[in-house]
């Protein structure tokens, strides 16, 4: 069997390609620069040609890309899109209904939202990670999260000063509360309508479905909070003068899960844990239910606690290492990439049979 992986800049691509090869597939890599995720006609043509020449039986990408779906529709080959990032905007494309799509979303409530668009072709699937140990850059602290794209929305300049202040108040308040997402309940109908008029989303294709106003507002607020939180966390680490950016594990790896991700496990965090890294993460329900807090992973609930715990675990090496070992074991047991790839094959096979 032959698979093509379309390289779209996601970290998991290489690991998935290796896993597919381990499953005795031949794997080709299509790495053309994508000018437009929705309407890059040259990309569609080039991919179609590649699929034909290579004799591909399926096409994979670690994101849902409408142009890939279009190419797969033309060539009638299954398109496996596994979304592990924090943005699901492209799922609003009308191409989501393509019968050759098999879309796997790492966030449960998002999979539920889109399931009706293409029943039997949209699935919830947590990410998986390899468990190959990587070396550590000693005495450093860094952020797990990578490829952060937000916010895709912005507020129009001419929105009222009151509304700017009000939105900032909501964001600052929600930023301080973990594990309880109260923003959706906070905005009255009147304010929702007002916000809807001033909130713009520039990156939408012409054939996209209308996005529910509540979702738009919620995404905007969550993206803004997440960005603020990550900036604040990075500043804390920089002030400690041991911040490390770039490849390699740090001694302490901080995960700031996106506020939009309430039912999923971040891939970046799993990748680090699978590689033997020690992780401190912001509290999030799904993380708390998937790992033993304090034994496999450490949690913080405000920035002061984050700083205190970074300092503590930098000093307490043995304790830190034991937590990292147990965390890696958990990832191997419950989040194995091999298992996930197997799940994908099963779903695709069943889907094609139907």
């Amino acid at each position: 069997m032959r698979a093509v992986i379309c390289k779209v800049g996601q970290r998991m691509e290489t690991a998935v390609a290796e896993e597919l090869r381990r499953e005795a597939l031949e794997v080709g890599e299509f790495a053309r620069i994508l000018k437009d995720k929705d309407y890059d006609v040259e990309y569609i043509q080039a991919l179609s040609d590649y699929i034909k020449e290579y004799g591909a039986d399926m096409v994979w990408s670690m994101e849902y890309i409408p142009v890939i779906s279009r190419a797969c529709l033309v060539e009638k080959v299954p398109y496996v899109a596994w979304i592990i990032g924090e943005s699901w905007n492209t799922l609003y494309s009308s191409t989501i209904q393509n019968p050759w799509n098999f879309v796997f979303v790492a966030e449960g409530h998002i999979a539920e939202r889109f399931w009706k668009k293409n029943p039997g072709h949209i699935f919830y699937l947590p990410p998986g990670a390899k468990a190959d140990v990587l070396s550590e850059v000693p005495g450093t602290v860094g952020l797990c999260n990578w490829n952060m794209e937000y916010p895709v929305y912005y507020m129009k300049e001419d929105c009222s000063e009151y509304m700017k202040g009000y939105v900032r108040g909501l964001i600052e308040a929600q930023q301080r509360v973990y594990g309880y997402h109260f923003l959706p309940n906070l905005i009255t109908k009147k304010r929702k309508t007002e916000l809807g008029k001033i909130l713009l989303e520039p990156m939408r294709g012409k054939d996209y479905y209308q996005k529910n106003l509540q979702v738009r507002i919620d995404d905007f607020l969550c993206d803004t909070i997440t960005r603020n939180e990550r900036e604040e966390a990075v500043q804390i680490m920089k002030d400690m003068e041991i911040f490390h950016e770039g490849d390699g594990l740090c001694t302490v790896n901080v995960n700031v899960a996106s506020r939009k991700c309430r039912t999923g496990i971040p891939y970046d965090m799993l990748r680090v844990m699978g590689a033997g890294g020690f992780v401190i993460t912001n509290y999030q329900d799904k993380i708390a239910s998937s790992f033993v807090i304090g034994e496999e992973i450490v949690v913080y609930e405000d920035m002061k606690e984050l700083q205190d715990k970074i300092e503590y675990y930098l000093e307490h090496e043995e304790e830190r290492k034991q937590i990292a070992i147990r965390g890696r074991r958990r990832v191997k047991e419950d989040f194995s990439l091999q298992q996930r790839v197997g799940d994908v094959f099963y779903a695709v096979t069943e889907g094609l049979r139907r």
């Binding site: 000063e161 009151y162 108040g169 600052e172 109260f182």
Partner: protein
């Protein structure tokens, strides 16, 4: 020990005095017609003379009055204050730290904050309920009752004449957010230095050098927390009134269909009857009471009323939730539990009985007074 009990208009003085006497202390009860004026030198001088003349060793009041702390220090007697109000501005007085004081706070988080600042004169002590309240045999006259202030007029936020729109929007945003979050008082943290600087251009807040509180604490508690309570209580009552008839006992009114404005009810026997005659009594705690159980909750339970209260962290330390009282964690939760307990009468009445029993077993005036006086007496023994 000779005790001078100074009673300004407050709740429960007779219970405390009776218990001091029951425990063998000699108590002189001095009523003052109003909250003491710190500038009233005539009164202060008279009080000093009386203390020296009669040889009092301990001065007691509900809530903390800095002037009395000064008098106690100057006459070398002790001052015991039992705080049941929050926010209480006088707790930010520098006098709080005076070594003659024994100040009892019912909010554990607040107590810890004072202790973290090195103030050793504060102690943690939950409030008390009253026992021996006779059961009213009239039966129920209301389904749902709320007794308390709406803070329509006692919130300083509404008295602010002008704030720029962006600032106003921000403050209203954070108050809306605080309304949704129980068990975490976040208003002070949401006031950055920069924001406070902005606020102070429009609001005059000057307590002088006798108060150590930050502008942040004052603005959060005196302006925002009370306004949040106003928003919360009105919203909650309006929401419930869509489904149930609500009896509101308050010095303020809410002109909404299905809300019966009953005016105020005097504290004491009449108030307890109101609780007994209502199937469900709702309590809503001010947010600046971060973890503690307020007096209203104790009052409802003492009367044998069914108490449905917002969640507070200390409730589970002192009561069994679901068996002795019930809690809500959102307006929807409040609505659902109100509906449930109106339907499930036996269960409701059993919870109310259990709540009263818990007060009688664990939260009485004799227990609290003994605990306070043990601490004071140990202090006396040390200094002797």
């Amino acid at each position: 020990m000779k005790i001078l009990f100074l009673e300004w208009p407050c709740y429960g003085a007779e219970n405390w005095i009776r218990e001091l006497e029951n425990q063998g202390y000699e108590v002189t009860h001095m009523k003052v017609p109003h909250m003491l004026d710190e500038d009233d030198m005539v009164f202060q001088n008279r009080l000093v003379e009386r203390i020296k003349d009669k040889g009092y060793e301990l001065l007691c009041t509900f809530n903390f009055l800095p002037m009395l702390s000064i008098i106690a220090r100057n006459t070398n007697i002790r001052y015991l204050s039992w705080v049941y109000d929050s926010p209480l501005l006088t707790m930010y007085s520098v006098e709080v730290g005076s070594p003659n004081n024994y100040i009892f706070l019912f909010d554990r988080r607040q107590y810890e904050e004072f202790r973290d600042k090195g103030i050793q004169t504060v102690h943690y002590l939950p409030l008390a309920g009253v026992t021996g309240i006779e059961k009213d045999s009239t039966g129920y006259s209301s389904e749902v009752t709320f007794v308390g202030a709406l803070y329509q007029t006692y919130n300083l936020f509404d008295e602010i004449k002008y704030l720029p729109d962006r600032l106003k929007g921000y403050l209203e945003g954070i108050m809306e957010a605080q309304r949704r979050v129980y068990g975490y008082y976040m208003l002070p943290e949401l006031l950055s230095e920069e924001l406070l600087g902005e606020i102070l251009k429009y609001i005059k807040m000057d307590l002088g050098d006798q108060y150590w509180a930050s502008y942040r604490d004052i603005f959060a508690s005196q302006f925002l927390a009370k306004k949040t309570a106003n928003l919360e209580r009105e919203s909650m009552l309006r929401y419930l009134a869509q489904y149930f008839r609500i009896y509101l006992y308050s010095n303020e009114r809410l002109e909404v269909p299905n809300i019966i404005n009953c005016g105020t009810v005097p504290y004491g026997a009449e108030m307890y009857k109101v609780f007994q005659r209502s199937k469900i009594n709702i309590n809503s705690t001010l947010r600046c009471i971060q973890t503690g159980i307020n007096l209203r909750t104790m009052d409802i339970l003492s009367a044998g009323g069914f108490c449905l209260t917002n969640y507070q962290e200390e409730l589970s330390s002192h009561f069994v939730i679901g068996k002795e009282l019930e809690v809500y964690e959102s307006e929807l939760d409040l609505l659902e539990k109100t509906a449930y307990y109106l339907e499930h009468e036996e269960e409701r009445e059993e919870i109310a009985r259990n709540g009263k029993k818990r007060i009688e077993e664990s939260h009485t005036y004799p227990m609290r007074v003994k605990e306070m006086m043990d601490i004071v007496c140990r202090g006396f023994a040390k200094s002797n």
